[in-house]
């Protein structure tokens, strides 16, 4: 008999849509409703292609072993390591991250989340400029100017426009799409740009210049060149003029600003533009980074309240230290300064650059990953946990840092433990080994 479970939270992207309906028939997921294509595929293929539970690589082959043996091996790797790296934390729950911080402290290693390849520059820019933020409900109820800069929500956050920013009828925006203007700044004519009122097609890698030109106009100076960033001068003046006619403006920005050259400086200048719009023109402007993974905001918040720093925290001296560029995952892997790694809640196989992955292939790697992803080729201890949000509960944080409880839809397959349990087991054994060794 098909049972429909309501208010299910979709654990894929930063939108964390919590109005999903999942149809379950004797512990098998058979269908979903209200979820986008990616969300549906996540639930549909959650129970297929699961990696075999605990396995250890013995002379080149991953051999299934008992849970006890796998926990001991993992703890032994982490205790003997001089500089272990604990990476990921963005596709698992906040409770698991809390245990992860304790584990990193016990092993005196480095803890880092996938923000280093997602929105680390945005956090670094906030550390220089602060930021006018808001929640998605404020956007729905009040925003009448939506700027999408360097992000493509139709592909990365499919339900973002229909649930939060463009189409819903807000408290003060009763006519939905018609009471809002949408502007997209992107070098490609993306699917988001096709829906927008105005698509500003910048020449790639020159966003910084365009933001500065807007700041110039705000500070009553003229555009300096005939065309800046590929946009003619009068087009820039008209865009600024149009932006000034609104009451409440929100800037959504994504990888287009953070992943290109000048990384945190692009966001730094965009925040300065937002503050100046607030101050000089009197439009209420806020901005919001489009966080990619469903709990990367949660990883930042949890690591920050546990250790004091949002990501790239190094415990090697016993107290937390934070210097992106010295203690962040990509740099530490690039320079080969890591001799053991634990990966949980992330998929470095599809997101890490070449040099980092080639170093990961040389060091012992503990991989806590439910599916048969390509990282298994180079990992040494493999756990296949129960999936957060589908087979066990937990807390995740939306892209505007709002915490939402993930619900349990189906029972996990046999001997698949939630992430929290796996990490507490490893932590117990690490403390025993440390106690014996000290």
């Amino acid at each position: 008999m098909i049972e429909e479970k309501e208010n299910i939270v979709c654990p894929f992207c930063g939108c964390l849509c919590d109005d999903g309906v999942v149809k379950v028939e004797d512990n098998k997921i058979v269908g979903t409703r209200n979820l986008c294509r990616i969300g549906h595929k996540k639930f549909e293929s959650a129970q297929h292609g699961r990696a075999e539970s605990p396995r250890i690589r013995k002379n080149g082959e991953l051999v299934p072993v008992t849970l006890e043996e796998a926990f001991d091996k993992a703890a032994e790797i982490l205790v003997n390591a001089e500089r272990p790296l604990f990476y990921g934390w963005s596709a698992t729950c906040a409770e698991a991250t809390q245990v992860g911080c304790e584990l990193t402290e016990a092993c005196r290693g480095i803890i880092d989340c996938t923000a280093t390849i997602c929105h680390a520059p945005s956090i670094e820019a906030i550390q220089d400029q602060g930021a006018p933020l808001s929640t998605l409900g404020e956007v729905m109820n009040r925003a009448d100017l939506i700027l999408y800069w360097g992000c493509n929500p139709m592909h990365a956050h499919p339900r973002h426009m229909s649930r939060y920013s463009v189409y819903p009828r807000g408290f003060f925006r009763k006519r939905g799409r018609k009471s809002r203007t949408i502007m997209v700044f992107d070098p490609r004519r993306t699917d988001t740009a096709k829906l927008a009122d105005l698509h500003v097609q910048i020449s790639p890698a020159s966003d910084h210049m365009l933001v500065h030109t807007f700041r110039e106009i705000l500070n009553s100076y003229d555009v300096t060149h005939e065309t800046v960033a590929g946009i003619p001068a009068d087009a820039i003046r008209e865009t600024m003029e149009a932006m000034a006619q609104h009451q409440w403006c929100i800037l959504f920005f994504g990888m287009g600003l953070t992943q290109q050259m000048g990384k945190d400086r692009n966001i730094d200048v965009a925040i300065q533009l937002m503050h100046e719009l607030n101050k000089y023109i009197g439009i209420r402007t806020t901005l919001m980074p489009m966080r990619g993974h469903f709990n990367v905001a949660g990883a930042n918040i949890t690591i920050c309240s546990e250790t004091g720093y949002p990501f790239a925290v190094d415990f090697s001296r016993g107290y937390p230290r934070y210097l992106p560029g010295e203690t962040s995952a990509m740099d530490v892997l690039y320079r080969g300064e890591v001799d053991a790694m634990l990966n949980i809640g992330a998929n470095p196989g599809t997101s890490f650059s070449n040099r980092a992955l080639s170093h990961m292939a040389k060091i012992p790697l503990i991989n806590i990953e439910p599916h048969n992803q390509q990282l298994l080729q180079i990992s040494d201890v493999v756990f296949s946990p129960a999936m957060v949000g589908i087979e066990c509960e937990g807390t995740a944080y939306r892209m505007d840092n709002v915490p939402i409880k993930l619900r349990k839809v189906v029972e996990p397959p046999e001997n698949r433990l939630p992430d929290v349990v796996i990490l507490t087991e490893i932590l117990k054994r690490v403390k025993e080994l440390k106690g014996k060794g000290a």
Binding site: E82, R108, G109, S206, N219, E226, G262, D268, V269
Partner: protein, 312 residues
């Protein structure tokens, strides 16, 4: 000048945190006390003698003590951190944070240095003969007051963000520089760049002066702010006169409360394309980037920057 020579043995891939290698901590100690000093490697602590052969003559006052690291130490960080006097000479490469937060004394590095050379420095002199990577004279994340005084000289190239949140002191770079030199400068610091600068010079700078002898490839609009200053001949900066004619441009006009007190000098021959239109005059003919194509500029940044392993 008494000398202590540290000859680096094998350097492991995991870097050493050697903030004890300063004249202040070596002063008044015997050789074997120095040998048993603690260095940190990952989460282990290591004796100095396991990584360096120590020889030379110790002495009591730090002022006339010179520490020589003769050899390549590319994985030894924080050498000369918080030192107040004396001298350090490195005959080879050195890792990050060399001379961080130092208040006096002199450091000479004959090879290359890594990030954060002279971070949040207050006084003293650092001379890098090779290249230095990013954040030369910069600040750690979040701090609003960076380098306060002292002097950094880099003979080779430097990376991005030279003199970030700078409050004072002088940085002289003879080679090329990456982007955002003098970003967020807040005090009377001076940056002199001998070679080219990629772009965004003096972006969001409130005070201080930056001089670029070579070509500023891309103007960020912050250089376009304000009226065209007059052409200055042989400006006197950082203690010595620099020959040549320079356009005097004002950096970030929007950055309250100082609004454009920061000055940027760009050499006359090469930088016509970045001159600002100014409040009154017609915007310049020509585009920024030239014919709307960023590819040549990206090639400069990715391929020709020596500091990033480009062609030499």
């Amino acid at each position: 000048m008494n000398e202590i020579v540290l000859k680096p043995k094998d350097h492991t891939r995991i870097s050493l945190e050697a903030e004890v290698i300063t004249p202040d901590s070596f002063a008044g100690k015997s050789l074997d006390e120095i040998e048993n000093m603690m260095l940190y490697q990952g989460n282990r602590s290591v004796r100095l003698k396991e990584r360096f052969d120590v020889s030379g003559s110790p002495c009591d006052t730090a002022a006339d003590l010179r520490i020589i690291i003769d050899g390549d130490a590319p994985r030894t960080k924080r050498v000369g951190e918080k030192m107040s006097c004396g001298e350090i000479v490195v005959r080879g490469n050195i890792d990050m944070h060399v001379g961080a937060e130092m208040t006096g004394g002199k450091i000479t590095v004959e090879g290359n240095a890594d990030n954060f050379v002279g971070r949040e420095m207050v006084g003293g002199l650092i001379h890098i003969k090779g290249n230095a990577l990013d954040y030369v004279g910069g600040t750690a994340r979040g701090k609003m007051e960076g380098m306060r005084g002292g002097e950094i000289i880099v003979d080779g190239d430097a990376g991005d963000h030279v003199g970030n949140f700078m409050y004072g002191g002088v940085i002289k770079i003879r080679g090329n520089v990456g982007q955002s030199a003098g970003q967020h400068m807040r005090g009377k610091g001076t940056i002199i760049i001998g070679g080219n600068s990629w772009s965004r010079v003096g972006c969001e700078a409130a005070d201080g002066t930056i001089l670029v002898k070579g070509k500023v490839h891309l103007s960020t609009a912050s250089l376009g702010y304000g009226c065209i200053g007059q052409v200055v001949k042989d400006p006197e900066l950082g203690g010595d006169v620099i020959e040549g004619e320079f356009y005097e441009l004002r950096a970030d006009m929007g950055y309250e409360p100082k609004c454009g007190i920061a000055k940027v000098y760009a050499s006359v021959g090469l930088n016509e394309h970045i001159l600002p239109g100014g409040r009154t005059s017609v915007p310049r003919k020509g585009d920024m980037p030239v014919n709307r194509d960023m590819l040549p500029y990206l090639k400069i940044y990715h391929e020709e920057m020596i500091v990033k392993g480009g062609k030499k």
